[in-house]
Symmetry: D2
Subunit: 377 residues, 4 copies
């Protein structure tokens, strides 16, 4: 290894679950070292949060603007090379834009930004600056998701006829919206559950099947009266191939923790994967016994095998999936050190982030028209 | 027991799966005896089929019209009292109508008939004649479905917020439609999968939750080009209470056998039941560990307990659920022997059958309008 | 069908679970008709129980001795041909012996009798009289158990290296032994749990693998102090082939309903089957994905397919497994009507019943010697 | 945090699975930093392995003896404080002994050493030196195992009546013993599967139930002829409380990956946990529905909650369990920095390691006596 990637972090202070996940995922393989941070919106909390995780005081910043400014003053070999953006959604755009413009690589939580205009601007910018911009669609990092994608693309299922993503959570059911930035349109944008978890569905369908959405038709739901953003939606999909799809999401389903279930049906067989038991992929070949493919086995495809580090039977989880995104983004970052444009495969990029933003816009458009079919561009 | 119920059967000759199920279900408890049959559309096959199952030659008829005519000539104490109608769908209406008019009780396979006009006529007729008319929505007979209904009605889940029925089968995927009456609009009516299995979804939602559909919006799919009737549909539901629902059905999903899954979400908890493992009901109370309720236990409600005859741990299946419909219909038939109108609870009647027919009509109406919201009457 | 088999029943009066199961299983296929019964040990309860199930008063007997005597006086074409013996265990021997001596076929609940001397006598007698004597090791009737046996015998697993049967129930945990004939050595014989459920383990191992026990070594347990018979046992097995086995049973394990689990390991793969989800057989070929074989599919062996009457996805259960024993015994009975010795395959016979009795004796012998290895003869 | 713990590693070079796990587990929480290593038995491989993981050349040693000698020459604030011992088993004793004598803390893979004499010596030494010595019985680190222990100790199950550990793997089935140090008595000691995975069973039983083994009786198996050490064993247990237990292990069971299953039965309920789906604990209270307790929920005990860092529904796995051992050992190490003897709870110590060694000796003693009962001291 030619030296660890020096990483900064924006957001992810004390009590922020996803910030801690980003840090552990980055550090898991020893590919990154966390060097600097602007972890909170208040200077005091930023300082405390930075010290919590062992940052030296002179690399703990009061704001992301300060961090950007100061880091640029450091000699190149000390300066951070990449930044993790784990702020509330409404800050993704200015932060990613500023750091990308300054030539930093970015790993950004999803959804990328609020509008497709912003997203397009970021895509343009990353291309111009030749920087890596990864978006952490975590579930892309699970080995058995990679296996599913490999099986579909190699034709094991034949033509795909139907895809279902069911993604149910409970946490919005008993929540008080006043406490939640996710429930606030100012900070979350035009969409709640669709932006938060529906985008995972859109991304997984694309990743696993390669199908393109032609039209969609959506219905929203709100479990609590007066809630501003939808906490659930049913989204019917027509793909350009003629296949049909369904994404059902809710964040107000009692008893559901992080119940993401993907089912892909083809002419010759089907696949089923559940995030809460991620080490297994169920494959039902037409007319033959159903098979349980298990992580860590030699019979899996190369990408499933290489994205996994524990032997079979020793369960991996969410953290390893998250780390896989960091590892693959890291490889791209390392390959671009010499000024050479890095390889950008094996992880979700700003392009996929942009596609997700468009998906959200179209879903909300359909919802507003009382479930009218809306065409994707 | 004051004498077995004398049963005739129309349809269900050699090779007809559902006819055999009706017979075994009827006989399971010793409540019925099968006395007569017009089991097939050809005299020769009728005769052979009748002999197969031990009917005396003089009670094997060449047609249902002949059976009706001849049975009426027999003395009342020998004559059949009830008839099972297990023909292709398009014959349900004339057969049920004729036997009901003649005062016979009827147990009819689902869907009841093809049009709501026909259905209304049958409802009227059954009321006039005071006969029992059961429709075999089999899944109503599973003890754990009864338990689910009991838990919802007793308020365990609080207000219901969302209901999902996913019902997936495979058998239409590789089928040649020329061989299948179910694929033929002449014999199946305006709908394929929605009429065949979507109606189970509609019935289960109503049975378990008591919710009434206000509007629906539906999208159909066909896995094979040129197929006349839909083999799948996604149906979005708005209930009068404000709750939302989703029924997803397909009969062309590789690897799915009879995959019926019902999920009911309320403010205070949720229920989940899968037909292929019917002895278990999963109950997730908000903030508490999920529970697995198991058939045959004392902690279940009275109707779940009484509809089950084996001790816990000794799995019951589809046959017992089917028999439960026959048993409860049989109780109603027995109670009406004295000319007293029988109790008609505990099993799906012609009224529920009618509701199912209307549901199919509305779904097809929405599909034809490209997923427009359609109001239930 | 050349006329139903006329069946009598000894034992199985009101409240007796297993008697009702025998009756329903016998009647399920229409192969038997129940004509006579001595259902209880008291005349009054016998009469009431007989009427409950629709027997005519003149075929309801006060005792099995009376039934035997009176039935023999009936003309052959009315007389019962076979008798189900579902009494407490200690009555199996005299009843089976008397009816066999008189030339009746017998279907006897398990365990067959209390001592191997008695068992040998019955084997001898059945051979002499050329009568059918089936022993209802129910689990032999499950299609997926037949599939397992077929796969082992056809060499799919290679040489068998290890077999495990875990069979756990709860019902003895909170029981008062005074109320239970199973807890009483006078009526149950020398063994409790081993005789009641350990014998199922022994039979399943033999049925599925064909392995012969060479030596065994056993340890008993009692969950309640003062209990006379063991309510659990761990039985180590050495087979003549060199393979090893383990049977663990308990009837005092909180939370266990009828938790019978069989695992068979071979050089080339393994099988796993659980009674509480009997429609599935798990097959793990070495180095390949695990497979779930499901009842009702064309890819199963002939005996698994023919012992099953519902299509895949429509779950069958304990009742159908029980009925399979009756059906196969019935075929043997029918084939012997002409005086020709019947085919006696496809169901457990008096020979397997005898082997089970010997197994119990050897297990108890090992237990009494503080887990000394004991050789099977 | 007052500075990371400076860690050295002995063993765990290229290709060694468990070494990599130790490193990732140590680094996961940022509590340790890896500063030095003697990773292989050959200087060249040691150097390459050290560079692979980013160690500076001057802290990569050719042997553990060299590492011990050189590190002691470094100033205290640079010198390692603790050492991970992940060599083949036969080297545990000299390495742990030497580093403990020199005052270093130790985290040692299991089994601790080969003989109880060696183990006793290490216990004595650790007490004398007041050093931390953790033994990585990984499964102790799973939150749901902690939950199980908490439920038993708080009396939820009442008196424990029976405990079962079934631990099955496949990897020895097709192995060539010549390639495996685990199959070689010189390097593995007197036992194969019992030492390797049986000790996990012994430890888990003790951890969860607190029961003490009074006597044991064991039978060994070898799937391959000529194999020197056992690859499987069935171990019957009598606890001092009168409860009974069973540990069944095999490393030659086709289709089993790391199938560790623990079942604990008490008078008032039971628990069941499976390592391959570690986020769930099944609890069956007597006479009530079974419950599924899920990691990450507020209803869990304090130790289960605090040992887990991801929210519910985001699966954790083996790595987090491993990291939990390091974290708790790390807390003890940190608390002893001031010369104060550290807290030594929450992780398996040299004492538990010693108990495991004795367990192995007794099991082998019983096996050699043809399954004679042997008393634990």
């Amino acid at each position: 290894m030619n030296g660890r990637i020096r990483l900064g972090m924006v957001g992810g202070g004390r009590g922020a679950f996803i910030g801690a996940v980003h840090r552990r995922a980055a550090l898991l393989d020893g590919m990154y070292e966390l060097c600097a941070g602007a972890l909170s919106s208040t200077p005091k909390k930023s300082l405390e949060s930075g010290r919590d995780i062992g940052l030296p005081d002179d690399r703990i910043y009061e704001s992301w603007e300060q961090m950007l400014e100061q880091e640029l003053k450091l000699p190149e070999e000390r300066r951070i090379e990449a930044v993790s953006v784990v702020t509330p959604n409404h800050l993704h755009y200015p932060v990613v834009k500023a750091f990308t413009e300054a030539g930093f690589h970015v790993i950004c939580d999803k959804p990328l930004v609020h509008t497709s205009q912003e997203a397009e601007e970021l895509v343009r910018l990353c291309e111009e600056k030749r920087t890596v911009c990864a978006v952490t669609y975590t579930y892309a990092g699970y080995p058995m998701v990679k296996q599913a994608a490999d099986m579909v693309s190699s034709g094991v299922l034949g033509n795909i006829t139907k895809v279902m993503v069911i993604y149910l959570q409970e946490w919005m059911l008993a929540a008080d919206d006043k406490d939640l930035w996710r429930a606030d349109p100012e900070r979350s944008g035009i969409s709640g559950a669709v932006a938060d978890i529906g985008t995972h569905g859109e991304y997984l369908i694309s990743l696993i099947t390669g199908l393109q959405i032609d039209q969609l038709c959506a219905e929203a739901s709100r479990a609590l009266p007066g809630r501003q953003l939808e906490d659930g939606a049913d989204i019917l999909l027509r793909f350009t191939s003629g296949a049909r799809g369904l994404i059902t999401v809710s964040q107000a389903c009692a008893g559901e923790e992080n119940g993401l279930h993907v089912k892909v049906f083809g002419e010759k067989g089907s696949l089923s994967w559940q995030q809460e038991n991620p080490n297994y992929l169920f494959y039902a070949p037409l007319g033959q016994p159903e098979q349980i493919l298990k992580r860590g086995n030699d019979y899996l495809c190369a990408s499933a095998r290489s994205s996994s580090s524990l032997p079979h039977g020793h369960p991996e989880g969410f953290l390893e999936a998250f780390a896989d995104i960091y590892r693959n983004a890291g490889k791209a970052i390392l390959s671009s050190r010499g000024g050479v444009s890095g390889e950008k495969r094996g992880f979700p990029t700003v392009r996929e982030g942009m596609r997700g933003v468009r998906f959200v816009e179209k879903v909300i458009e359909s919802i507003k028209q009382d479930a009218r079919w809306v065409k994707m561009d």
